[in-house]
């Protein structure tokens, strides 16, 4: 009995010693090796999901958001039956089985099958439990308003890389850095919470664009394109005092949700990347310069009765004979002959000086990619006839935005503002991290000159003016029409069929809320800015003033009592 007890005790002691020694081996001698092995089994590295910041209009309406989707990949080496898998997956995804089979049979251990598929489709494929298929969480940029403001918002590529517009210009704010995070998992592969958010969000961008105004602009632009069968068109609407771009549209345009299918000419932001000869809208230069330099007064007369004037060997014509016109009438009736005479009085140095003061030949600085500066040659390189041509808006190349900025200077009392499309950037928590503040705004002309020229521009949209079609019921419009020939690339001469018709102005004239330029490229049937562009201005202005609750100026009744409160 005692012997048995000794044996049992000895066995127990040896057992404990063995366990103790094994523990010493695990916890002391080979601790590092086993610890590393355990980490590899238990810890898993996961990507922090990167999400671009959102884009809003000036009233907080979403213009660019993210959708949570999944991307499907396959490991062809791990697939048991690629044929069956290809058949089943292609059926769910509505794709051709052959294309799917090619991916499932390709070499390598990682092949993208389909990027950014929606949750429902992903769930259906997951239920099939096909070996060798896997999913990665992904984000898809989605533009809920479709084509609306596509040239401002821009687009991103398949990997959410910025391609155009604000997406590109403000990419450093919108994108965010990713990185890795370590998560613990158990023997079944279930992950345990780390308590850390595995989503990193970019900053949100607030535009100056107003969705309502943008919609009005794009609707009327589509109507104009259809009516005049134009090759292209542009409208920009801006607050003339702050430079806030309220609406900005080009045609042709594209849907940023399918930007990869869009053609280059649809993606072209012609409002800032394409130059054209402005024609009569450029008469703002000679007109305001003449007032500023006190060369003329409103009643100074110009003999335009011949309907033509000869400058440096070339002849400049009016569309019809006007007789003797006052300075005011020269602008109102858009007389080429009168404007040339004013330009000749000013001289080429002063014409050039004021063109530069109004910002022509240099970028406006708008916060969109691809802006060009246009061009105007320095006076030393002008030909003998250039003074006449430039006075009526030929031999210069401008962008629609430059023209709008110049007229905004007249609207706001002579200040050249800086156009911009982003007003603020906020962190994901809503803390402002950037607010637009203009650099020092330059003065183009004195306030007095701007006021005088504004009064002249008002007459353009009245009876006898070329821009009567832009008149809005209830409010005065100030503006200017422009009709310019396009140079035919084949003949290198001015085309007799291709024109650019434009109207630029602001309303209400005395207290401007909006300044707007309308440019119609190659209209068919009619060519004059007053006919093709001014009515577009009118329609947009009428609806926009209503949208903005801008009061009519012709209402005499104020606070009429209609109901007695009981």
């Amino acid at each position: 009995m005692k012997k048995r007890a000794i044996i049992l005790n000895t066995a127990i002691i040896f057992g404990f010693v063995a366990v103790f020694l094994r523990l010493v081996d695990l916890m002391v001698l080979n601790h590092g090796r086993f610890s590393e092995k355990a980490k590899i089994q238990q810890l898993k590295q996961e990507d922090i999901q990167v999400r671009r910041g959102l884009i809003y209009d000036r009233r907080g309406r979403e213009l660019g958001v993210n959708l949570e989707v999944e991307s499907l990949f396959c490991d062809p080496a791990a697939m048991v039956s690629p044929q069956n898998a290809a058949h089943n997956v292609s059926e769910v995804m509505g794709k051709k089985p052959e294309a799917m089979l090619a991916k499932f049979s390709s070499k390598g251990r990682f092949v993208w099958v389909e990027r950014k598929i929606n949750h429902e489709t992903a769930e259906k494929i997951k239920k099939m439990d096909i070996k060798g298929l896997g999913f990665v969480p992904d984000a898809k940029r989605f533009y809920p308003k479709g084509m609306l403001a596509s040239h401002v918002i821009g687009a991103v590529g398949i990997d959410n890389q910025a391609l155009e517009g604000v997406e590109l210009k403000y990419n450093k704010f919108l994108k965010t850095s990713g990185g890795k995070i370590l998560v613990t998992r158990d023997a079944r592969g279930r992950t345990l919470s780390t308590g850390v958010d595995i989503e990193s969000k970019g900053n949100n961008v607030i535009l100056t664009i107003d969705e309502g105004l943008q919609y009005i602009v794009e609707k009327e632009l589509d109507n104009a394109m259809a009516q005049w069968r134009a090759t292209a068109a542009t409208v920009i609407m801006m607050n003339p005092f702050t430079g806030d771009i309220l609406a900005f549209a080009n045609r042709p345009a594209y849907d940023p949700n399918s930007a990869s299918y869009a053609k280059d000419f649809e993606k072209r932001n012609r409002a800032i990347t394409d130059c054209y000869e402005p024609g009569s809208t450029f008469k703002i230069i000679v007109g305001s310069a003449a007032i500023e330099e006190a060369i003329v007064n409103l009643d100074t007369k110009f003999d335009c009765s011949k309907g033509a004037v000869s400058v440096g060997g070339s002849t400049i014509h009016d569309s019809h004979r006007n007789g003797v016109l006052t300075f005011k009438e020269v602008i109102q009736k858009s007389s080429n002959v009168g404007s040339t005479m004013i330009g000749m009085k000013l001289g080429k140095d002063r014409v050039y000086k004021y063109a530069k003061l109004f910002g022509f030949g240099e970028k406006t600085g708008i916060d969109l990619p691809g802006e060009v500066s246009g061009w105007i040659r320095p006076p030393g390189r002008w030909s003998a006839g250039s003074i006449g041509a430039i006075s009526i808006g030929q031999e210069v190349a401008v962008t629609p935005l430059q023209v709008l900025r110049a007229y905004s200077a007249i609207a706001n009392g002579g200040i050249l503002v800086m156009p911009h499309v982003v007003s603020e950037i906020r962190s994901p928590n809503g803390v402002p991290i950037y607010t637009f503040s203009p650099k020092e705004n330059k003065r183009a002309v004195s306030k007095k000159t701007a006021e005088i020229f504004k009064d002249i521009l008002k007459t353009v949209a009245e009876d006898g003016g070329t821009g009567k079609g832009a008149a809005v019921e209830g409010n005065h419009v100030a503006g200017k029409t422009g009709t310019a020939q396009i140079i035919d690339p084949r003949t290198k001469r001015y085309s007799k069929e291709k024109y650019v018709g434009s109207f630029v102005g602001f309303v209400p004239a005395d207290n401007p809320m909006i300044a707007m330029v309308v440019v119609i490229y190659e209209p068919k049937g009619q060519i004059y800015g007053g006919t093709v562009a001014a009515p577009v201005f009118k329609e947009i202005a009428k609806q926009s003033l209503s949208y903005l609750n801008v009061p009519r100026e012709d209402t005499l009744e104020k606070n009429i009592l209609v109901v007695e409160r009981r």
């Binding site: 309502g212 209503s546 606070n559």
Partner: protein, 115 residues
């Protein structure tokens, strides 16, 4: 004699009490660790649900943005509901300046929201 008796009672109790305390300590540690692990699983599950809800929220936000777009509202309003945009010439603004003041109407609207 009494002293010897008391000492033997103490020595008799100390072993089981220590054993109970050690067992209780071990159990507490194991129980605590198990509870933490269970909580981690629960949080992990809640995280997953949260991500699903956030995904749905993002989808719904995008759908809402599409449905509330001016174009969509205009199409619905002018189609089924036969509504039109306000004509400024026909709009009358009704105002009330104080609690006990009469209502006033004007053709000149207050500028509600300028650009």
């Amino acid at each position: 004699m009494n002293h010897i008796h008391r000492s033997s009672i103490f020595s008799f109790l100390v072993v089981p009490v220590c054993a109970v305390l050690i067992l209780f300590g071990i159990f507490s540690i194991v129980w605590l660790r198990a509870s933490v692990r269970t909580a981690e699983y629960k949080i992990s599950e809640l995280d997953r649900k949260r991500m699903e809800i956030l995904r749905d929220r993002k989808t719904l936000m995008a759908e809402k943005a599409g449905l509330l777009s001016i174009q969509s509202v205009k199409n619905k309003g002018s189609g089924k509901l036969v509504m039109v945009f306000p004509d400024r010439t026909k709009v009358v603004y009704v105002k009330k300046e104080g609690k006990n003041t009469p209502y006033k109407a004007s053709l000149e609207g207050r500028q509600l929201s300028g650009p």
